[in-house]
Structures are given as C-alpha cells and as structure tokens.
C-alpha cells in the first residue's frame, strides 16, 4: 500500500513537472518546448528529491483491522478487494463512456480549462491574449496547472489530441482513488482502506466530475495528498518527517496553482499545521519544521504570485467589492440563512444522500473517536475550508441563488475524498473487535 501512495504521487508529479516547467519556459523564452529542457530537470529534482528520503522511513504502525480475527480478516480483505476491483473496472468503463460523449469535456472545460490550454499551445508568445476583459466569462484569473499540463503534453506529442486532456483527467481521478485506499491502509489497516475506496467509487458523482475535465478532481487529489502525507509525517521523525512535510506543502502549493480555491486551501493548511504543531505536547522545536513547510511551498507559490501579480486580471468576486456593498452583504442575516441552508441541503443530497448513511452507520456501530494529531489536523483543515467557502459566498457580488446552485456540488467534490479520509481515520471500531487468546470478544478500551 505504500507503493500505491507512492505510485499515485509519482504519476501526478510526472504531469506537474512538465506542466510547471513548460509554463516557466513559455514565460522566459516565449515558446512551449517540444522536448525536455533544463527547467524539467530542475522541477523534477524539486518534486522527486523527497522520495529519496522515504527509503529511510519506517512503515507506520498498522492498526488491527476492524474485523478482528486473522482468518476473518483474510476472508473480508479478499471479498472487499474483489468488490473494489469490480468497482474500479466499472468506474473506468463509465469514465470512458462519458469521455466518448464529451471528448473536449463539459461546459467549463471548453469555456475555461481546455480553452486556456489552446491559447497556451496555439498562441505561444501571444498566449496571454485571453487575459482580456472581453473574455471575463472564461475566468482569466484562474491559475494554469491544468491548461499548462494539457498544452505541454500537446507540444511534446505534436498535436491537439483529445487523449491528452482525457488522459490527465483519468490520471487524477483514479490516482485519487489509489491515494485514498493506500493512505487509509497505511495508517489504519487494509480493510478500512478498501472500504474507503469503495465509498469513493460508490459515489459516482466523483467519476462524472473527473470525466468532465474540470479542475475540481485534480484539486481534490492535492487536498487529499496533503492530508495523507501530513498524517504520515506524524508517524515519522528526523529527515523522513522533514521530507514528508516538504512534499505535503508542495502538493498544497500545486493546489494553489490549480484553482483559486487552492489558495484558500494553502492558507488553511499553513494555519492549521502551525497551530496544531505549536500546541502539540512534547514537541521541543515546533517552529523548526516551518522551514520545510516554506521550502515545499516556494517553488510553485512563486509562480502563482508571478502570474497573479503580472498577468492575471482581478478575480471577479474580489475585484467587484465595494466597501458599502460588502458591508451590506456581511450584515444581511438572510444571506447567512440562505448559505447555511444550501450547505446543509448539499450535505444531505450529495451523492444521493450517502452522507446521511455515513452518519447512521456511526450511530448504529458506536465507534470510538480517535483523538489523534491527524484527526485534529484534518478536522481543523476541513472546518477552515468550509468557513472560507461560506465567507466567499457571503461577500460574493453575484446572484447568490445561482452562485450556490452552480458551484456547491463542485466544492463538495473537492472536499469529498479528504472527508472520507477523515471519516476512516477519526473513528475506530477496533475496540469492539479485539479477540482475546481464548477467542472471546472483549472491549479493549
């Protein structure tokens, strides 16, 4: 399962490296490279160097699976593995069918992501022609990880083949599944890991969004990657822990280069990490690790800052704020009610009400709450993200009803894999299932 996490991260890094290096090359030399260049080597070192330290990491302590006895474990693991494998196969077929129907992606893919990719690929030194108020509906302020990845791949293979954006979307979708299964397994055992994968695939909204070629599933991948790597870092020490912190914040910075919500995520991740680590008992040098946090963020964050400062127009939500109007929105109680109701409605409706069943499952099985550092960190992060999204809707100058209606399901998709991760690491069913040597059930807590 360590390999599953490693493979997911390496494959995504193989997309991020040429994307970022290609865009830097375009800025510096006004052309997309058709082959490997020095910048590829530089960013490859930035992305892959931490993996060298992972050879020194010890495997995290695997908890007993929540179904207790060894022979029962093997039977359940086999059945759940079969179920997951079948779901992955079905998911791939669904993805293929959706991609055939819409090879250029859905609405926003043609209006934003793949459109920006075409400007980068076809425009070359004039790539920034789309940064005009005439195309305000295309959100020209959006970061460029996904368009740059598509454009760079087109440049490398010499044509605008639909296989490129479809392939990138496929990679992010199924790498997220692999990351979730591997991450939960490494921290809490195989059965929980398999159940987490089944839960993600059993909510087909995720596959459909992946095939739409929007940036929400790549964003979900980076959010989840940060959560898993940070959780793993708590089980390690020394250079391995430093490398994990560096890699986690590199992933968070990639989220910031993917979509504007990623900037909010990066800020939330930094705040939560610092607060949790400062207050962690027994930690003698909590701020010493901040240097690895900064080192992880910088290589990609500098590009985000450069793009926002020199090229991108103002964001339509932030740019259209006036003092009087903003104060009016913040002090309007109806807006709070409307947003709160929408959030609640979405959490109930999302993926045909699966959230309700997750809560029911907890009530019926009565697990133990695992008050670990990772639970506190991920809970804090999700709370900050939801609060941040709430505030964005609160100050939004757009029609609130349409803004919520058009975007809330996509925000849910962004947070969903991380939420599943938290669900499986925060609750422990093992206390009820540990069997004594005589085979009688006992409660170990």
């Amino acid at each position: 399962m360590c390999r599953l996490v490693g493979i997911a991260l390496i494959l995504v890094s193989l997309v991020c490296v040429p994307a970022i290096a290609g865009f830097c090359h375009l800025l510096l030399f006004r052309t997309l490279p058709t082959g490997p260049v020095f910048l590829d080597v530089l960013y490859a070192v930035i992305f892959f160097a931490p993996f060298l330290f992972f050879l020194r990491c010890r495997a995290p302590e695997k908890y007993l699976s929540d179904l207790g006895q060894d022979s029962l474990n093997h039977k359940w693991t086999f059945r759940l593995s079969l179920s997951l494998a079948a779901m992955v196969t079905l998911g791939i077929i669904i993805f293929a069918m959706l991609s055939i129907q819409a090879p250029h992606g859905e609405w926003d893919a043609k209006a934003i992501w793949n459109l920006h990719a075409r400007f980068l690929f076809r425009g070359m030194e004039h790539w920034h022609d789309y940064l005009t108020p005439l195309l305000h509906w295309s959100h020209p302020d959006y970061p460029l990880l996904l368009p740059a990845a598509v454009a760079r791949m087109w440049s490398l293979i010499g044509g605008e083949f639909p296989v490129v954006p479809i392939g990138i979307a496929f990679l992010f979708t199924f790498a997220t599944v692999a990351l979730l299964v591997g991450g939960v397994t490494m921290l809490h055992g195989k059965i929980k890991g398999l159940l987490a994968g089944i839960l993600l695939l059993g909510t087909p909204n995720f596959i459909a969004h992946g095939a739409s070629q929007y940036a929400d599933v790549p964003l979900a991948f980076f959010y989840l990657a940060w959560a898993i790597i940070i959780s793993l870092s708590y089980t390690q020490s020394g250079s391995c822990r430093a490398a994990l912190i560096y890699l986690s914040f590199l992933m968070a910075a990639c989220a910031a280069w993917t979509k504007n919500e990623g900037l909010l995520f990066l800020l939330a991740a930094v705040v939560v990490y610092i607060m949790v680590n400062l207050s962690a008992a027994g930690d003698k040098k909590p701020l010493a690790r901040v240097q690895f946090l900064i080192a992880g963020c910088l290589p990609v964050l500098l590009l985000v800052i450069l793009f926002k400062a020199e090229y991108a127009p103002a964001n339509d939500i932030i740019g259209n704020q006036g003092l009087a109007e903003t104060v009016g929105r913040i002090t309007d109680p109806q807006r709070y009610l409307q947003i709160g109701r929408s959030f609640l409605g979405e959490s109930i409706r999302f993926n045909n009400g699966v959230g309700v069943f997750m809560v029911l499952f907890l009530i019926l099985t009565k697990p133990i709450l695992n008050k670990s550092l990772e639970t506190v960190t991920i809970s804090g992060l999700l709370a900050l993200m939801i609060t941040g999204y709430f505030l964005v809707y609160l100050i939004s100058p757009r029609n609130l009803y349409f803004h919520l209606g058009n975007s809330l399901d996509r925000i849910s998709v962004q947070l969903w894999p991380t939420f599943i991760f938290l669900y499986f690491i925060a609750f422990d069913w093992k206390g009820k299932l540990v069997l004594s040597a005589c085979g009688r059930e006992k409660n170990s807590h």
């Binding site: 793949n114 400007f119 076809r122 005439l134 083949f161 296989v163 089944i198 099985t365």
Partner: protein, 147 residues
Amino acid sequence: MRRKRLVILTTLAVLMLWGNMLFSISIDPRIHADLSRLWSTLLKVNSPHGYDMRFAELREALPKRGTVGYLGTLANEQIFEDVGESGAYYQTQYALAPLVVDNSWSHELVVGNFGDIEAAIKKVETLAGIKRVHDFGNGLVLITREK
C-alpha cells in the same frame, strides 16, 4: 454480537454503495455511449464526432490572432441568458482560439454562428455597414463590415 452487527452493517453499506453506483449509471443518459468509438475519440484530432471540424474552414479564413466580433441567433445582450446561445458562443471561442471572439457586433470581422440559417440570413440582411458575407455552411458565416 457487536462484531456480528458491524459485519452485517458493513455488508449492507457496501451493497448500498453498489446500488448507488448502478442506479446513477442507469439514470445518466450520457453513460450509454458506443465504446467502439473510444479509439477514434482519443486519437483523432479532428474526429468525425469533433465539432472543431465544423469550424475548420472558417479558421483558415480568419487571421491567426487578434479580435473578431460575434453574432448569434439572439441579440448580443441576450446571449448569456440563453443556455443554447451561450453554449454556441463558447464553442465558437473554443474552436477559434487563440483568436479572441468578442460577444459584440463592433468589429471589422464578425463570426456568425446560427442554428437556423434562414433566420440568420434575414438577420444579417437587416444589418447596416456590411461589405461582404461568406457562408461556410453549417450555420457559420463570416461578415466583413466597412471600417
């Protein structure tokens, strides 16, 4: 007993997730495509199913970069209020990138994208300052206006 209950609930949960997945497949009209088209979809830049083919001739007639205007079946101010019309405008911009397609009549070159060509001809005939209209078929026209 507690373990048995957990096993039963977990099995039910997995079955429900399967049911959720199969239910979503059965009601989504997009998930009934012909898988034999996958190969041509992935590898053909201008596959018969790609609407870029519709704009290929028009693209050749336009400059490589710059800004052109746009005309649809509805008035420019109403385009974003109609799903079909706004979709046609986005598709036009997508096909003609890196040319910027401005949702405005006020340019020397104006691309027309019409669902109904007869209504389009009637609309274009009412407009002033037209030097030339080239019909590319499939509802696409290129209007050259006087400077």
